[in-house]
Assembly symmetry: C2
Homo-oligomer: 526 residues x 2
């Protein structure tokens, strides 16, 4: 059976009984009849040969063994030395090859990333593909004024609500910095709380100080019902930039990593070098460095808690070498990300990298092709979690709520491509062709195969427009941006996820400085 | 050596001597320093497994042997029967499996598609990738009014001039119908003459009656200098829809095919079924039918003139099954086209299929992602000629001159992805990383590797905008469509290719009804 056959809509036979049917009806749309879903298997695109993969692996191990990492904090040095690392007189922590390979062999794999709603649980293993938001945009794009306004906590909450309603965005990672939060602690705590209040999908976020992690964990225990329940289904992962590329640990991030790991929070081990600036300009070299860096993080985490769930977050970015500024929408970026997917497959670890980062400042034709090319290539490469894949503009500086809705269509087409082509006796269609051509109507319009595949095999854009020019003119030549604005306004005025019970929300507000007013969350004043 | 290494900029050593250097300086930009060029090798994306490819091949042969083709004209039946086909009492021409395999084995491969300027010669073999226009749009998109106006001969000529100036569009196939030409003969002759006057790149066009082919050949002999010179370097191919899917010959097109083949004109054997309408709705089935149909055309041509150059033009389109209308921008289309690339590789024949056909009516975010996803997947699949890849809107009904310029950037990024990732000791960058990290500056900004790769490895958009939001605001928030309009106007007001000498042009005008005024071609009144 080919990958594509494995990607076919699931048989409805998998869950029987009255309860299963009841659950099925409660869900917005059953996976069974959807042509696409999160977690379909990609991997039919391989930018690297097997030999290339091995060369990159060996070069990364060489870097770890010979160059090592600067700026390790004492607890990191202590834990890693116990495993066999050496701390040199030059202040660099070095990782022997055999140790790294041993850690890779024993590291957590095939784990679930939980949603608050089990319907949104993710299984980022093999070559399964999920699309996610991410990022730290400092602006929200105002489509009407074309201004880059400061992003707020409310914007972040709204982004989460939209993601909750978008079929083709499977994980909500913090995508904007709430610039109305002045205190860093308020920022971290409220970013997380706004996110987990907005969606039942898995949430990713980051914290800058370990005491913020501790406070966030307290809130998560309250939402889960207890620490034990949180640890059984941790539904928030920490996006952690433990490395300052090239090859140095970030000290505060290291401390946050330790607190999160001990607290049972899955870890996105994030190396975000920029080729030509903080990583080699050669694409292969940027991948080597990213792999080396994330492997170091993997050793670090496993030295603290063996088998702790980590996402292999090789996120090399690209510089526009004319200016030194980042270029997220380039072909070079698409290649880097796809190559990273292959490296994660080599290690059989859940891989997360970035795609969909338009350089364009607004959702225009440039943003469209930048996002389309990069997200489809990440998916075809079988990247497990494609971060940054919705809403992003201006090389990660701006975020657009309308683009979330537009990008949901882009990701739908990307997922259709990931699903691939089923080849079997039925789809080869020899008998269908025979029936139509010999004594048949000479076309396939009303053929039972056509009708059967209409919903099961074909993906239709939600806001994309496929009318003919004549029909399009008759309905007033709708502009896709206007359609997205309207859809956003409709959604945000009516859609308020209420999965966190009011009493729990009240209890959290009583203990923590929650800055998003209850009214903004569609709750009445208590 | 990996494919990617093979795609590296060519060494400047390949052409020595004074004449070569002189030619080099005369060229606008040397291939040697370009990070991308036409004819780079793709193929790292394979939507089909090897077993899938074989199943499709076998199903296609079964269709040809058992179902066969209706509506063959007498000369076709006669030629094909001589080769071993059978003409049944049901009026269908059937192609025995062994015969088809024999024709495939002996068919022309590894031939050159010539440009009027040898600099633009194409080698559509292996997994080399070229991007081309094509189509028969009946409207030109007016970006200012958002109207779909009737397309004219002048529009077609202008499109050709723009293509001549665009680095990433390698072949100019007729893309619009000149609706100001009322007589079909005037239409065919003028379409070809406007195209070959506008560009020195290889031209594709079609003719509806054999006497039009004859007249076009006369003109081509005049441009080439003689029939012999034309036959030595035929720089126009005929795009021929010899099949009315499913599985019937088109009679007039068959006659045009015969005249063109005898006249030494390379043939694009075009099967343009539409999945769910004139081809099976199942993607695999649509590929099966397209392969069967083009194989029939290949037998037909080789029965007339063994070894005549043909492009394997499997162009299955997609229906939006909600309306039955075509959807060129869909994920299903991207898969169909990529699968066709693989089938052409299986036969080791030059493959041409379609990508870049936006459903969107204008160059907006939807057009961007539709074009980006489909053109990059065609390239990664190693499709030899990616037709329809620039300018197209509204599922082939509309053409935009501005989009040609925008799409040139899309194709540039696609080509960057096709080029892939070079992995070798230099690019793995271990020593570069060591130099930077240990005693080095801690960044790569001024490193010699970075500077060396800036022009050689990185592709910069021509009109795409990578400014930061601040810089973008400072320069007045340019809109990409305005930029494209300005670029188009600048180009069309100044760029008039004059490769056809005035005397030849005059001679052609004296013998043929050339409707494009000399002034429109930048020539003074004679």
């Amino acid at each position: 059976m080919s990958i594509a056959d494995d990607n076919k809509p699931r048989s409805s036979g998998r869950a029987g009984g009255r309860q299963a049917r009841k659950e099925l009806r409660a869900a917005p749309l059953s996976d069974d009849i959807k042509p696409i879903r999160g977690g379909m298997t990609g991997g039919r695109y391989k930018p690297l040969t097997d030999a290339d993969v091995l060369k990159i692996h060996n070069a990364a191990l060489q870097c770890l063994e010979e160059i090592g990492f600067g700026q390790a904090i004492p607890t990191c040095i202590e834990a890693c030395e116990k495993l066999g690392c050496t701390y040199g007189s030059d202040g660099r922590l070095r990782f022997p090859r055999a140790l790294v390979e041993d850690v890779v062999a024993k590291a957590a794999r095939n784990f679930t990333l939980f949603g608050q709603d089990p319907r949104h649980d993710l299984e980022p293993s093999g070559k399964r593909v999920y699309y996610a938001t991410a990022g730290a945009a400092v602006h929200i794009v105002n489509l009407k004024t074309r201004n880059y306004d400061l992003s707020t906590l409310k914007d972040l909450y709204d982004a989460g609500r939209i993601v909750d309603a978008m079929d083709n965005i499977h994980l909500f990672q913090r995508c904007m910095v709430a610039r109305d939060m002045e205190d860093p602690r308020d920022l971290d705590v409220n970013t997380m709380y706004a996110s987990v209040s907005a969606t039942t999908k898995h949430v990713g976020t980051s914290m800058v100080m370990p005491e913020h992690v501790t406070e966030c964990l307290e809130i998560l225990h309250a939402i889960a019902g207890s620490e034990e329940k949180w640890r059984a289904r941790p539904f928030v992962s920490q996006s952690n930039c433990f490395v300052v590329p090239p090859m140095k640990f970030a000290e505060d991030a290291s401390r946050c990593l330790e607190t999160a790991v001990y607290g049972g929070m899955p870890m996105l081990l994030l190396s975000a070098g920029q080729a030509g600036a903080t990583a080699p300009a050669a694409i292969a070299g940027a991948v080597v460095q990213a792999v080396a860096e994330v492997l170091a993080g993997l050793v670090y985490v496993n030295a603290l808690v063996p088998g702790h769930p980590c996402i292999f977050g090789t996120w090399p970015f690209v510089s526009d070498l004319r200016s030194g500024a980042m270029s997220g929408g380039s072909g070079e970026q698409a290649l880097l990300t796809a190559a990273c997917a292959q490296m994660a497959h080599f290690y059989d670890l859940p891989g997360g990298s970035a795609a969909g980062m338009a350089d364009s400042k607004e959702p225009d034709v440039q943003a469209g092709y930048e996002k389309g090319i990069t997200t489809v290539m990440a998916g075809l490469a079988g990247l497990n979690i494609v971060y940054e894949s919705a809403g992003m503009h201006a090389s990660l500086l701006g975020f657009s709520l309308e683009s979330l809705i537009i990008d949901n269509d882009i990701l739908g087409q990307s997922l259709r491509c990931v699903r691939g082509i089923e080849v079997n006796d039925e789809t080869l269609s020899v008998e269908t062709i025979r029936e139509v051509c010999i004594g048949g109507p000479g076309h396939y319009l009303g053929h039972r195969q056509t009708l059967a595949l209409m919903q099961r095999d074909y993906v239709y854009p939600v806001i994309g427009n496929r009318l003919s020019p004549k029909e399009w003119a008759e309905v007033g030549k709708p502009n896709i941006l206007d359609v997205a604005v309207r859809k956003k306004e409709d959604l945000l005025s009516a859609y308020f996820p209420k999965h966190i019970p009011e009493a729990v929300d009240d209890a959290i507000r009583a203990r923590h400085n929650i800055c998003l007013p209850k009214e903004a969350m569609g709750r009445g004043r208590s």
